[in-house]
Amino acid sequence: MKEAAVREREGRMAFKWWHGLILGLLLAYVPGSLLVGGVLLLPLVVLHFVDPDADRQRMMIVLFYLGAVMVHPLRTAWLAHGDWQTCVQQITQPITLILDWMAVGVAWLVAEASAIGARLWYADFARRERRAIEKRIAALRDEWLDTGAKDKT
């Protein structure tokens, strides 16, 4: 089996023994924060299962948007020293949850919108290029492929 394919499987499998170790440690020491992070990262997991096309790139994009939402609850959880009460309170705040779920949508929206924008820009570019080429062809034909019948004037 090729090395690249091995690495890919490993990437997808993702979980190694030290993952479990870190997770266990986090669970032991900051279960609240882990809960907040886990809940808030839930849309990513859902996206991963719902949209099989979503590649790493897409995941990364969504991660940044989710990260933006996660900053405040995680800090609150941090400041409360992982207080369970506070953590639960954080993940039950509707605004945070709505923002969290909307972040996925915003990520998608921004990606699509800019893709459309780029497409339009490219189309315009192609059109202009085409027009330039056609003009050049016409000029060349006029200059070289005309037997002199027309320029009698």
Binding site: F64, G67, V71, S114, R119, A126, W144, T147
Partner: protein
């Protein structure tokens, strides 16, 4: 010097110096129309302006000939390409107006000695005079000294009357006499001396044919002197000078030392006692037989075949060598098959005549001529001096002589004829042309001063290339030559073309013999030739020619592929047409390097068009690429936004 003249002005200013009033014509001198010319740089001095229409081929040598008894040439000038000869006034009226009776000493001192001196000088220079005839000899009032008219203004012996010519050239048509030898001049001098002795022309009142008949019958000397009272001291001299055999005539050197009663011994020719009958004429000498043999060819041939001539020569004249030669010539007539192109009977007559009279001119195809006169005969034929069938005959003879000189390569051929035929063949080869073109070239190649023989400009006597170019430039209006004519047959006719080609060839230029053969349209070939001539001979603008060529050359521009190049060249073409430099005018269109570059660029343009079309065809592929790129760009942008948003969130969280 404001001598501005309109075209209708009767005054002509030659070389900005000699003013000729064309309304006041003088009597002809040397066979040329003559006017009085006033030298405007020196008041009161006048000259005679002669307009020679066919100058001698040796004119360039003859014009420097100076002798006290020949009117020297003062100058020769060109006006509009036509040759004008300026000479002093003759000392008095010509002898044609009255011979007068001269005494023996007057004749010796005033005619024979000075003329013999002049003839000897000419002979030393390898020239001949051929102008000793009454109307070309002038005598001062009260003097007894003849002065000869200017030399070289007429070609050879064309203008000599039959009476003044020896039999060997009198038998020919005037144009076929050539320049002859100094012995011919001695004969003419003899006739002059005789006329002055007896105070009138011998055989006066007889027609040329009758004169010839009498001379062949009796011999020239006897025919001329019979019944006249010739001073006894001159009889022997005249008999020698008027001898029909050139080798019997005294040379000019003998005549200079002439003294009264000097005797010239002469081997008398004994005529046959029993005459030979040919064509109903009694013939007593081989010379007369040769002459009548040419006249009655069929009878001559039958006499020859029946060996009557050889027997007659042997028995009556005791000429055994000639008799056996004649017999051989008759035998050669029997099918030999050496050259199929030659009619054997023609050949036999020619050979037999050459044997009978070695001094006779060449007889070929019913015509007496000297081979050296062929260019001149052709020139006269072109100028329309002969009826059409004779023109054809002359052309046939000329082309035969030029293309197959080996036919005449026989030991019996007289040396003079052999030399002349050889010279003619060399000249013909040197033209580098073939067929009709060669025939047309010959007169121009042999004579620098030969005026252009084109029927359009013959009377202008144009003998200078520059003059022809200018004349052509002035005679190309729409009325004279239509545009279709130019397109079809060019700007010039064959004679003009040949004239220019000959003049170019003399300068070592071959403008277009090859390219014309390569199938250039005739107008373009003409234009190339004119451009070459202009480059070499004439710096004047030829804008009229260029203007007429403009529409034709513009169609030629079609071979340029580039439209802008065409437009640029067209604009330049009309500019150059106005400037009138044909070379640059033509180079604007005939530019192989430019054309090649144009072709190359056209090819490049075609390649580029193909390439661009390929790009256009590839557009769907590129669209897919664009789609992918657009998606990537979208993702990248949203990633960027995501990073910014998270940074903003962190900043809000920690720094507010």
């Amino acid at each position: 010097m404001d001598y501005i003249q309109g075209d209708d002005s009767p005054e002509l200013l030659i070389a900005d110096r000699y003013l000729v009033n064309t309304t006041q014509k003088q009597s002809m001198i040397g066979g040329c129309p003559t006017w009085v010319a006033q030298d405007i740089t020196a008041t009161g001095s006048t000259w005679l302006a002669l307009a020679p229409s066919m100058p001698s081929p040796r004119f360039s040598e003859l014009m420097f000939f100076r002798h006290e008894s020949v009117i020297g040439l003062h100058a020769h000038e060109y006006h509009n390409g036509a040759l004008w000869v300026l000479c002093a006034h003759p000392p008095g009226p010509s002898l044609a107006e009255g011979l007068g009776l001269w005494s023996e000493s007057q004749i010796i001192d005033g005619v024979i000695r000075p003329m013999a001196d002049a003839l000897e000088k000419l002979d030393t220079a390898g020239l001949t005079c051929r102008g000793i005839r009454p109307e070309n000899l002038f005598v001062g009032q009260g003097l007894h000294k003849v002065v000869l008219g200017p030399l070289g203004v007429a070609a050879g012996a064309t203008l000599q009357p039959v009476l003044f010519e020896p039999l060997c050239s009198a038998a020919c048509h005037p144009t076929a006499r050539g320049v002859g030898t100094i012995a011919c001049d001695v004969f003419s001098l003899g006739v002059l001396v005789l006329s002055l002795c007896i105070g009138e022309l011998p055989l006066k009142g007889l027609s040329d044919a009758e004169i010839l008949r009498r001379r062949f019958e009796l011999g020239s000397a006897t025919a001329y002197m019979q019944g006249h009272n010739v001073p006894a001291g001159l009889v022997s001299l005249l008999e020698a000078m008027l001898s029909d055999a050139p080798e019997n005539r005294p040379g000019p050197g003998d005549l200079i030392t002439i003294a009264p009663s000097k005797l010239f011994s002469l081997r008398a020719e004994i005529p046959a006692r029993t005459p030979l009958m040919i064509g109903g004429v009694e013939v007593r000498t081989p010379r007369a037989l040769a002459w009548y043999g040419g006249k009655y060819q069929n009878e001559f041939l039958s006499l020859l075949q029946r060996k009557i001539i050889s027997q007659w020569l042997h028995r009556e004249l005791e000429l055994s060598v000639m008799s056996s030669l004649i017999e051989q010539a008759g035998v050669a007539f029997l099918p030999s098959g050496a050259n199929k192109a030659v009619d054997p009977t023609t050949m036999v007559v020619t050979r037999a005549i050459a044997i009978l009279d070695p001094a006779a001119p060449m007889f070929w195809a019913g015509r007496w001529f000297w081979p050296e006169a062929i260019p001149q005969m052709l020139a006269h034929a072109e100028a329309g001096a002969f009826p059409p069938d004779e023109q054809r005959n002359i052309r046939g003879i000329a082309s035969f002589l030029m293309t197959s000189p080996e036919v005449f390569d026989a030991p019996t051929l007289p040396a003079l004829q052999a030399t002349q035929i050889g010279g003619l063949a060399v000249a013909a080869r040197r033209t580098g042309a073939k067929g009709m073109e060669q025939l047309r070239r010959l007169p121009y190649d042999m004579n620098v001063y030969q005026p252009c023989l084109s029927s359009r400009c013959l009377k202008e006597r144009i003998s200078l290339s520059a003059g022809l170019l200018q004349w052509l430039n002035g005679h190309l209006s729409e009325e004279e030559v239509s545009a279709e004519d130019i397109g079809r047959s060019g700007f010039m006719d064959d004679q003009m073309r040949t004239f220019l080609e000959s003049h170019c060839a003399r300068q070592g230029i071959v403008p277009l013999a090859q390219s014309q053969k390569a199938g250039l349209p005739s107008w373009l070939a003409d234009l190339t030739l004119l451009a070459a001539a202009q480059r070499r001979f004439d710096k004047e603008a030829l804008s009229s020619i260029a203007r007429r060529a403009l529409p034709l050359l513009e169609t030629e521009l079609k071979q340029w592929r580039s439209r802008t190049a065409r437009a640029k060249r067209r604009a330049k073409l009309s500019q150059l047409a106005e400037a009138g430099n044909l070379t640059r005018f033509l180079d604007n269109v005939n530019d192989p390097a430019g054309l090649q570059k144009d072709r190359k660029m056209a090819r490049q343009a075609e390649v580029e068009i193909a390439h661009l079309e390929q790009i256009l065809e590839d557009e769907p592929n590129r669209k897919a690429v664009h789609e992918k790129q657009a998606r990537n760009a979208g993702e990248f942008f949203s990633l960027l936004v995501g990073i910014v948003v998270s940074m903003a969130s962190i900043w809000l969280e920690f720094c507010q």
